[in-house]
Symmetry: C2
Subunit: 405 residues, 2 copies
């Protein structure tokens, strides 16, 4: 008997029809002989509706109470899914994060999972009952309800798969897998039948929006194969697994882009030890997720430091950068929101040194200026003007012949 965890996102359970389709699929999986643990998100726009209610009621939103409020969402969807399963003769029981034994730290609204107990889920499975678990939520070590932040339901699913020793974690969503580029930008983009965890991490980190970085990291660390599939078409999706060293890797698997970042430049920085360290320590203290960092050679003892951060962290980033201004440290802070990063990701890139040159030539041929560059062994990212990002993605997708056959 194989155990699989199936996670259904908000669009997959958005209304009664979708909920019934999901129940049908879970029933089918059971009939095929597999054991199933289901993880569900809140239905469709429920979370947005709850946030709107909170805005209406109060201008103050204590994080503990926001978590209490938002966790009502999965509570509804899991109970409803259990009813739809019961109607199909599949015994099912819903479990809150707390009942499932998902223990987190005490950081409300973006808690981290410390431990998955899962005793009640194992007991349910042993009785032939399908456990339906609320995604996105847990209970803290001080017995308060917590939520796991963005992408939290995927993290729940992966954590349960790891804790229960599932053969794989299936993530059902409104797209049919991981593509060689965003199909809205590149209509000929190809669905990738399989990608390695390393590639998936880079894709997630550079703008691929199917999976959040955090759940991919969790899956890789716990060796949980991920399957990304559509709950609308149920067609074969993308499997995310350990890299198989015996196989030849495609040089480039995907072209990604990310327009959610902003660039902050601290110019006229005194080029002496400790200044960059102070800057990034202060950014870390404000929980700013710095992505790219570029510091070039200095002239006359002065240099410029540029970094990117999510646009929502721009205000905090600017404040930190401005705290560095002063005669002995830095002269000016410049921010720029009209930037995008365009990245190539591919496990085979490690052994093909020509990729960078081809990327730069392709962008140059399109007249697209590169403003910052960052690389990893299996990724190259270039910052460009945001209005040129889609043109860059399309050109690179063509240049590396990633179109569907």
């Amino acid at each position: 008997m194989t155990l699989v965890v199936q996670k259904f996102g908000g669009t997959s359970v958005a209304d009664a029809d979708r909920m019934q389709a999901v129940a049908e699929h879970v029933a089918r999986t059971r009939r095929s002989g597999d054991d199933v643990v289901v993880v569900v998100s809140a239905m469709g726009r429920t979370t947005d509706d709850l946030l709107h209610l909170a805005e209406q009621v109060s201008g103050v939103h204590p994080a503990r109470e926001m978590d209490m409020l938002l966790t009502a969402g999965e509570r509804m969807s899991m109970a409803l899914l259990c009813m739809a399963l019961a109607e199909r003769g599949v015994p099912a029981a819903s479990f809150t994060g707390s009942q499932a034994g998902i223990i987190t730290d005490t950081l409300h609204r973006k808690a981290r999972i410390l431990e998955v107990k899962g005793d009640r889920l194992r007991a349910a499975l042993a009785e032939g009952v399908v456990p339906v678990v609320a995604g996105f939520q847990g209970v803290s070590s001080t017995r308060d309800i917590t939520t796991l932040g963005r992408g939290g339901s995927d993290v729940t699913a992966v954590a349960l798969a790891a804790a229960l020793g599932a053969a794989r974690c299936e993530i059902y969503t409104d797209v049919s897998g991981v593509f060689s580029a965003d199909p809205r930008v590149v209509p000929t983009a190809r669905k990738l039948p399989r990608v390695s965890f390393e590639e998936m991490l880079e894709i997630a980190a550079t703008g691929g929006r199917v999976l959040m970085l955090r759940s991919v990291e969790f899956a890789r660390n716990h060796h949980v194969p991920l399957l990304v599939r559509s709950s609308f078409t149920w067609e074969p999706g993308t499997i995310v697994i350990e890299e198989d060293p015996s196989m030849e890797q495609p040089v480039v698997s995907a072209v990604t882009h990310d327009t959610s970042q902003a660039k902050i430049t601290l110019s006229g920085v005194a080029d002496r030890p400790g200044i960059a360290a102070t800057l990034f320590r202060r950014l870390a203290e404000r929980s700013v997720n710095v992505d790219m960092i570029v510091q070039n050679i200095s002239h006359d003892g002065m240099t410029d430091i540029s970094f990117t951060a999510p646009r929502e962290d721009l205000a905090a980033s600017r404040e930190v950068a401005e705290s560095m201004l002063g005669p002995l440290e830095a002269a000016e802070v410049i921010t720029d929101e009209d930037v995008a990063t365009v990245s190539l990701v591919g496990a085979g890139m490690k052994t093909h040194p020509g990729v960078t040159a081809t990327m730069f030539e392709t962008l140059a041929a399109e007249g697209i200026n590169i403003e910052m560059i960052s690389t990893s062994p299996i990724r190259i990212s270039c910052m460009v003007r945001s209005d040129l990002a889609e043109k860059a993605v399309q050109a690179l997708h063509r240049a590396f012949e990633l179109d569907a056959a």
Copy 2:
């Protein structure tokens, strides 16, 4: 420092404005120097909306999952109220039934409270935090989420008041207290400043809809004074307390009516021991709440047994009655839904034997036929045709001079 429990029903927290008014009132209570524990119901029509969702999703509704679904309602309202309190500088924390330590039996959808632990509420109070507790819900001895059935939030409030030793339990609703009759039927009905638990029990049992019988019983058994008030006008309400034997009681306090019952008659019943016992044992096994029972003298070894039960239990009642049919037991089952009971309630009635006569004369003068009669030391109930119930209430209210001064 006095501790009060304040319970706000669904209409009291129906929208953002109502929620803010409630927060303002709780803040005011705190400023007056009292400690407060708040109990909330789900907002307005939330429960109906959730029931509708369940109907849409599935034709099968396992009780455990209905409880999981419905408890989302109070979760939202309590979190939102805590936010509104925070905005007013009142530290507050929400607690689910489970977190509040409300332990119930395992009967989903109409669980009974077995124990109230309340440790976390006491700890919150000790820290100056207002606990806001989800009404209507608890956690069973097998760690599943349960709901307490109709009127459950009032029961939660009374149980917490008893467990925490509160000075009183305030029930806020959309009416301003307990009236001498339903003001929609008798516009001149008078608000009663105080009623005894015994009177309140009779009023609740005979159609007064402000408080459910169950919470009044709980309050009486645990000596918790109840205050019923409007959360719309905040005017003084009705206090429900132990009868004060030193005071003269009004003969009649209220005229109530109840159109929610049906009458079932088993006619041609063999008049020998055990038949009535079998009938009512079987009704109890089907959880039918029998109210009035009338059996008259027999003729030729045959008698008729009539009883009333809530109309929603009519189908079950008829099935049970029909199970008694047979040559040795009973001849026929007759059901009647067009009935109503009209009752007089008053603690002073015990010592005033003329009340019954006045009641019957008043109804006779209006040409209203009495079909069944039942009495207690402080109540007389008559069954009449349902379309004559309001006329009967109005006539009795006049006859006993209950109009507002």
